[in-house]
Subunit: 550 residues, 2 copies
């Protein structure tokens, strides 16, 4: 097999042994551990503020160059390997991760403060999405093959044979996210979809979970070895600042960037990418407050049930989800008063929880204090610190504001990352619609409605549709199903490009572009476009979607 | 029908009569002629330098606001009208244009200097692509419906019902292009694909063909009236400078921009769009020199035939195509000497032709003079002025340069818009590949090869593939088939976004984004996503592509 000749030109510097008994903290370049001489980094347990066992090496510019040079070289092999081998590799990554679940969950819990069951679920989600992409790749129709055969006798001009499919664009830089140390990190959805598309990946590990990153990085490294992939398809670099991330985005061989995090962080990367000599796409999933509209009949019929459901959704995972319901809207009514009372009670009973990092906790407490001290909003409910010995604890908070004040004061439309939500009370439907119109783009929007009432709110629905990538009926926005029909990406500023999703199988389309072959020689066409349809995939042939072997 | 209530709030200012007997030169806002008080504009015949009959009104900021306000209002109706009605509208635009073919071709010839047969072909292409999009919309599967049904009993968590499809993004600003006064202008591919997607269009008419724009604008206006579309889906504004175009791109209600033209012009629009408070996508098709590689056996077997074929392609339409073969590359050999001699003779015999505008002719002559006076390149062939009484005439020119000089001097890789091409002579294959590696992104790349030799150039093919959106074997890049498999868009700087095409039916995907409905009520879902598949379209239902009525 041609791709077995893959480069391995980067020397294994030092021995390939663990720094401590459980953890290798070296940077990974082309699936190989390499040394870096700069200062050691340590992971911090946010609940204690103390360093966790394991030393990690800060990367440098030279490693950035090596990572992208090896990714570019590996791309020429990896882009066109057999789809079943690529699927086997993705499944092998899932297998390697599944095999270390216990160790991984333990380490991730120490580093993130997230509870074990949540992290166990996240391992399942991570391996599940790797397998989802393996299946997608093995099936093969995702390349959107379109074939139009020649018409040599057409008048006034003959028609050429033209065949088009999606091809991968090249090395992708993936920024690990803090809030999903597994599912949106080293082998998360971005990495899985980029590797599935045929693009090599260079991961910038998130400083909030070096050890979790190291364990997953080693799992990918092993899968590369076991399935004989070109080594350069995976590299991972450590940094506690912005230097390495910026160098990765600016590197001339980088072809795309993925990021999940703050608006400020995302837009900084977009700016760097736009300023390159050759601009590249950045897929930044940024701030979203995920409005939830409580319609009158729903409140009348189940105010207390809704309050409990939403107190739970607001405080789930210390509110550290991009789909956290940070905004609730309703028209004033006696039922709303009942809802408010129940919500206040439920929020007051939420136990405090460890936030992901000291920075995130500080930021949450600062913004929460600003809301508490702001005379335009009032506090509806607030929880107590239940464990005073732990650091970086968050209190759940729900505030209330009139729609008039909400519309006039844009600062209330900004995301407060944590267990916080703001209830906007409108005098009437018209004011409710105005409040919706004042919003920026969102990842999700939710309607809580009784079956018969929704059809009376078509104008409101249209306004909401224009603001969001996913619209939910009678559910909660937290919990993002990983499937083909998911859309996790909304109008600016929720993401910088609402045409793509970062969750679900269509996330693969972030890393491809169409290429058309005109009058090309059959034996040199990719299998996807050959006569006889050797891969047995769906193709659009002369305007018909078919598996026929035209 | 709901959309019959479409707004018509913009007054018909003045009477709806022609300024002269053939032409109404007023701006069109919401399919209605409106006055503007600023200075009159006139079209210029580039062959004579004289004004052509007909006065046109320069638009102003207030008309920009009116156009986008009415487009935004119309969008709420137009986005969800029945697909057959939308198809009927697109066909009606084609019918109205076909009905005025004679007048249109005559006016376009006067304004552009292009020959009548070419313009007759362009009318056919323009109506053909409108009908192509009508068929696409009527068929309906283009929305990429993906349905995953609920699994209420799934462990550990139930799965929601999630259904996703492409929805239109809103008002699109289309810049008419100078070099295709019909097919890339007022009702060209950009307008056709945007209207097909469900987006209203605001056209900035190109100053090189006001009259052609007016005639086509009136055709669209009539089609809107005859098929009872919301008036706001079409507006068209005149300007002889940059002010109106910039105001359109910066307008908060604009959701996307299309442009075909120079690198400088395209990047200026990209910059304006990026600097908006809400950045929007710009689809700019910019410079491309469309490399053609002549492989040794092909040259040995048919040097003279290839020379004639390429002299014709280089000088077609005075070389004013974005796919003009502005660069040829070959390895030195005795056959190449024969090719060069034949090419020089064929180019010398090319009759001079009128260029589109005085600005384009001046620019061409300035850049051609720079090449002629540059001691790194030599002139291989040049034609004579065959009609000295006409203005803005172009001479066809082919220059030659060594691969060494070509690689070292980036100015030779810039587009010279006109009947010009540069032959790069490499000493060997390695130098040929280096020359290819030095190139920026391209719309097309072409290989002239004998059947057996192509497979010996896999490394070259890989390098070329990474540079282009369309790769052609033994043809010429001029002539872009309008079909589903076409890709007209390549890596930067050929376009600013290689993931999309501006020609062919998939051009529709520039103006849509995915929206997911979670647990949504059946009666409020779009028909495309309803149980029972009422539109009988292809949908991916629980991971199977099917027309079954799941």
């Amino acid at each position: 097999m041609r791709w077995l000749t893959a480069l391995n030109y980067l020397p294994v510097v030092g021995e390939n042994k663990s720094i401590n008994k459980d953890m290798n903290g070296k940077n990974i370049i082309a699936s190989t551990y390499v040394n870096a001489n700069e200062k050691n980094l340590n992971a911090i347990n946010p609940a204690t503020g103390l360093a966790i066992e394991g030393d990690f090496f800060k990367a440098n510019e030279s490693l950035v160059n090596d990572a992208l040079a090896s990714a570019t070289e590996a791309f020429q092999l990896y882009r066109s390997i057999n789809k079943d081998l690529k699927a086997a590799f993705l499944n092998a990554v899932a297998d390697e991760i599944a095999a270390i679940t216990e160790e991984l969950v333990k380490r991730a819990a120490e580093e993130s403060g997230l509870p074990l069951p949540r992290l166990q679920g996240e391992v399942g989600r991570t391996t599940g999405q790797l397998r989802l992409f393996a299946n997608l790749v093995a099936e093969g129709s995702w390349v959107n093959a379109i074939i139009e055969t020649a018409q040599p006798d057409r008048q006034p001009l003959p028609k050429s044979d033209i065949r088009r499919m999606m091809i991968p664009i090249g090395p992708v830089v993936v920024f690990g996210a803090s809030n999903f140390p597994l599912a949106f990190s080293v082998a998360g959805g971005d990495t899985a979809s980029a590797l599935a598309s045929g693009c090599p990946v260079v991961v910038k590990a998130h400083p909030a979970h070096y050890g979790t990153s190291a364990l997953v990085g080693e799992a990918i490294k092993k899968a590369v070895e076991k399935t004989n992939m070109p080594n350069g398809i995976f590299s991972m670099l450590y940094d506690d600042g912005y230097e390495i991330g910026a160098a990765l985005v600016k590197h001339p061989l980088t072809k795309a960037v993925t990021f999940t995090g703050s608006f400020k962080g995302g837009m900084a990367l977009v700016k760097l990418a736009d300023e390159r000599e050759n601009p590249i796409p950045v897929f930044a999933e940024m701030g979203s407050i995920n409005p939830v509209i409580f319609l009158p009949d729903a409140l009348t019929n189940k105010a207390e049930e809704l309050a409990k459901k939403y107190a739970a959704s607001i405080s789930l995972g210390a509110g550290q989800f991009c789909t956290n319901p940070g905004l609730m809207l309703a028209i004033e009514s006696p039922s709303l008063t009942t809802f408010k009372k129940s919500l206040a009670d439920a929020i007051a009973a939420v136990p405090s929880a460890t936030m992901l990092t000291n920075g995130i906790a500080d930021n949450y407490n600062r913004l929460a204090t600003e809301v508490i001290n702001n005379d335009k909003a009032s506090i509806l409910g607030i929880s107590n610190l239940t464990d005073k010995d732990l650091k970086n604890q968050s209190k759940a908070i729900v505030a209330e504001i009139s729609a008039t004040e909400f519309i006039e004061n844009p600062e209330f439309r900004e995301e407060i990352f944590g267990p916080y939500s703001l209830l906007v009370v409108a005098k009437d439907l018209s004011e409710l619609e105005s409040a919706i119109s004042s919003l920026g783009g969102q990842l999700t929007a939710t309607l809580m409605a009784d079956k018969e009432e929704l059809k009376n709110y078509i104008s409101l629905l249209n306004k909401l549709t224009d603001k969001t990538g996913r619209i939910i009926l009678n559910g909660v926005p937290t919990g993002v199903e990983v499937c083909a029909s998911m859309q996790h990406g909304g109008p600016f500023p929720a993401t910088n490009d609402s045409r793509f999703t970062s969750v679900g199988s269509t996330a693969i389309y972030r890393f491809v572009r169409p290429l058309a072959y005109q009058d090309w020689q059959q034996d040199l066409l990719p299998d996807e476009l050959k006569d006889g349809n050797p891969l047995n995939i769906f193709r659009t042939v002369n305007q018909k979607l078919t598996k026929a072997d035209e």
